[in-house]
Amino acid sequence: DQQVKQNSPSLSVQEGRISILNCDYTNSMFDYFLWYKKYPAEGPTFLISISSIKDKNEDGRFTVFLNKSAKHLSLHIVPSQPGDSAVYFCAASPRNTGTASKLTFGTGTRLQVTL
């Protein structure tokens, strides 16, 4: 029972173009969504997040969009750079029920930015 799904295992984008990574979730109790970036042999590092009260959050080249009715979020990276090549994990957190910050992760999308 996968509550957070990233249906594209991999994505290849040319440098300078836009990368769009998608994520779907099924649990309506999820209230807060995060994207983590992971390089090989390292732990995930936080990239950007969005609360369910918003539909967009932007930080430099990274923008996260949330469509609550569709239970869908996406991460846009523009322009894409070779250093963005990594695995991107979508994660979700439920409303503060005493188990806050227990993240549910997707299976990741490997982004390859080519020259």
Partner: protein
């Protein structure tokens, strides 16, 4: 310290042997989380601590797995009588607070190989 420190980086155990993994959270962080990542797939939540108290252990296998966070010591995750399916990367993460929008900082993981 300013990063989550996990030791050892790699651990090899024969089936049936004990494995013990360590995690030093970021100084000032009150919450510690353990996640298991099998075959580079999704991260499975195991357990979380608020200081030395178990906060949420809903992901911990009932048998063979135990964890502690004692004052002035690194947190530990111990697996008694390891099995082949315990082979995974075990990530520790810490956060300042346990609120919904608190991001987690991850260590670089311990790769456990059970032979």
């Amino acid at each position: 310290g300013e990063e989550v420190a996990q030791t050892p980086k790699h651990l090899v155990r024969g089936e049936g042997q004990k494995a013990k993994l360590y995690c030093a959270p970021i100084k000032g962080h009150s919450y510690v989380f353990w996640y298991q990542q099998v075959l580079k797939n999704e991260f499975k939540f195991l357990i979380s601590f608020q200081n030395e108290n178990v906060f949420d252990e809903t992901g911990m296998p009932k048998e063979r797995f135990s964890a502690k966070c004692l004052p002035n010591s690194p947190c530990s995750l111990e697996i008694q009588a390891t099995k082949l399916e315990d082979s995974a990367v075990y990530f520790c993460a810490s956060s300042r607070a346990g609120t919904t929008n608190e991001k987690l900082f991850f260590g670089s993981g311990t790769q456990l190989s059970v032979l």
